[in-house]
């Protein structure tokens, strides 16, 4: 006897999370493109479009609350709904980081960046890929597969952190050579920091996906590994 109403709602919520992920992906790529091309108009667009992300997050949260009220779900159903509430929130925060980068870009005005953007777009590509895979980990019904993806994402986060440290070092060196560069250096530092946070949020989603499939709340690589192996 399937619980059709709840199954339908869970599938619908999942589709909305995927959609929210798509909006976030778009926002991050756009904001990086705007930063690189010094396209202030595009940056303003990213800021305006963040409202759509916020609205969809609110809609998902409301639907989750509604299903908890109506269905009083238990076990895997309960974990999926709770997990999706968290994940919607993580995605919304990623949207805020995209918006944050857009604001940095606008503050930079028409000035050229301190240095050519290489590592920040690389970080963004990886962070977006992590985000997309974290949603895959959420939607798969195979718990081993979900745990495997989550582990992979935890490892990729280390790579993002490594790139972030490199960006920081490069900027420090440039600013040390010429203190006049401090303001422009700070702009780039902000942008890189925002991208690094996107990757962190992706690992949070992967951890929620593990919770949804196994019931274990994990935090960090060692925990994720234990959840997979245990």
């Amino acid at each position: 006897m399937p619980n059709e109403q709840l199954d339908y709602s869970l599938a619908h919520l999942e589709a909305e999370i995927v959609l929210l992920g798509g909006l976030v992906e778009n926002a991050i790529f756009k904001t990086i493109r705007a930063l690189r091309n010094r396209d202030l108009e595009l940056s303003r667009e990213v800021i305006e479009e963040d409202d759509r992300i916020d609205d969809l997050e609110t809609k998902i949260q409301n639907e989750c609350v509604e299903q908890i009220r109506r269905q009083a779900p238990l076990a895997a159903d309960l974990r999926r709904i709770i997990g999706m509430m968290f994940i919607a929130n993580e995605l919304e925060r990623m949207g805020d980081y995209a918006e944050g980068i857009a604001k940095v870009s606008i503050n930079m005005g028409h000035e050229a960046p301190l240095k050519e953007l290489e590592d920040i777009p690389k970080m963004a590509d990886l962070a977006v890929s992590m985000m997309k895979r974290s949603i895959d980990a959420m939607t798969t019904s195979d718990r081993d597969e979900s745990a495997r993806i989550a582990l992979e994402i935890e490892n990729d986060d280390d790579e993002v952190d490594r790139l972030y440290a490199k960006v920081q070092n490069d900027i420090f060196t440039l600013v040390e050579d010429d203190r006049e560069r401090a303001v422009r250096g700070t702009y780039l530092m902000w942008a890189a920091h925002n991208v690094e946070r996107v990757a962190d949020r992706a690992t949070n989603i992967a951890e929620r996906a593990i919770f949804m499939s196994t019931g274990v709340i994990v935090s960090g690589n060692a925990d994720a590994q234990a959840a997979v192996l245990g």
């Binding site: 779900p73 238990l74 076990a75 895997a76 159903d77 309960l78 974990r79 196994t214």
Partner: protein
């Protein structure tokens, strides 16, 4: 891997069934149930209709014997003593292990006499007023009936009748109270009162409760036991553990299917 059936070997066990099977005539109703009930715990028995929850419950105080042609095999111990032992008086057992049923069933007597019934059968004559008051207080109904103790037990609301029945069970100071869907015939407010009362009583007594309401089981009990009927139409205990396990992350996929409303 978590064991689907929890054991409490190092704890004070009030009840323990081992390989218990029950037949009604030639029909096997429940097979091979092994379950331990620790002292002062609240344990819920859940599962689809006809899975044998009430049958298991009634074995603990030999209530099944009142149904003709019932045969119980395996062992059931109350504080280490075999409940079905040849020298055990079932009436004694039922005083130690009281029972509350789905429909409130006060005797057609006064409120006072309902509660005084058990103590009188036990030969208690002095101090009855105190025992009646104390039992009604423990059942959280004293304030509502103290001015009409001579009125009929049938003249109060359903929720009050059920608490009166709980007071009647408590009057003989039982160790364990078995409850068979005690709130299923009650409105939400009376249900809340019964649930609060069950939590309160667990300070002093052990409670085993059959319920169809899974939210109720998650709210009030410490552990839940899941029973299920297989292809053979015989009831089995499939999972027994903390509520965190049973309702949060069940070990047995059949438990998962049941608590999420996919079967039953």
């Amino acid at each position: 891997m978590i064991d689907p059936i929890i054991t409490f070997d190092d704890q004070d066990l009030v009840l323990e069934a081992e390989n218990m099977s029950v037949r009604y005539g030639s029909t096997l109703a429940v097979e091979d149930v092994s379950i331990q009930i620790p002292r002062n715990a609240i344990v819920s028995l859940i599962g689809p209709s006809g899975c044998g929850k009430s049958t298991v419950l009634r074995c603990f105080n030999r209530m099944n014997e009142l149904i003709p042609d019932t045969h119980v095999t395996g062992s059931i111990k109350y504080q280490g003593v075999n409940v079905y032992g040849a020298d055990v008086d079932p009436t004694d057992i039922r005083f130690r292990i009281g029972m509350v049923f789905q429909r409130p069933n006060p005797f057609p007597k006064s409120i006072y006499d309902n509660v005084a019934f058990g103590p009188r059968v036990n030969g208690l004559t002095d101090d009855l007023d105190r025992v009646v008051e104390e039992s009604l207080r423990r059942a959280a109904i004293w304030d509502e009936v103290k001015d009409r103790l001579d009125d009929s037990g049938l003249g109060i609301s359903g929720g009050q009748q059920q608490r009166l029945c709980i007071a009647r069970a408590l009057a003989v100071n039982p160790d364990v109270v078995l409850m068979d869907e005690p709130a299923s015939a009650l409105d939400p407010i009376s249900t809340q009162a019964i649930e609060d009362l069950i939590r309160e009583l667990s300070q002093e007594v052990t409670i085993v409760i059959v319920t169809h309401n899974m939210q109720q089981a998650t709210r009030i009990s410490d552990y839940s036991a899941v029973m299920m009927v297989g292809e053979d139409r015989v009831g089995h205990l499939i999972e027994y553990g903390t509520n965190g396990q049973v309702f949060g992350n069940p070990v047995d996929p059949r438990t998962e299917a049941y608590v999420t409303g996919r079967i039953g």
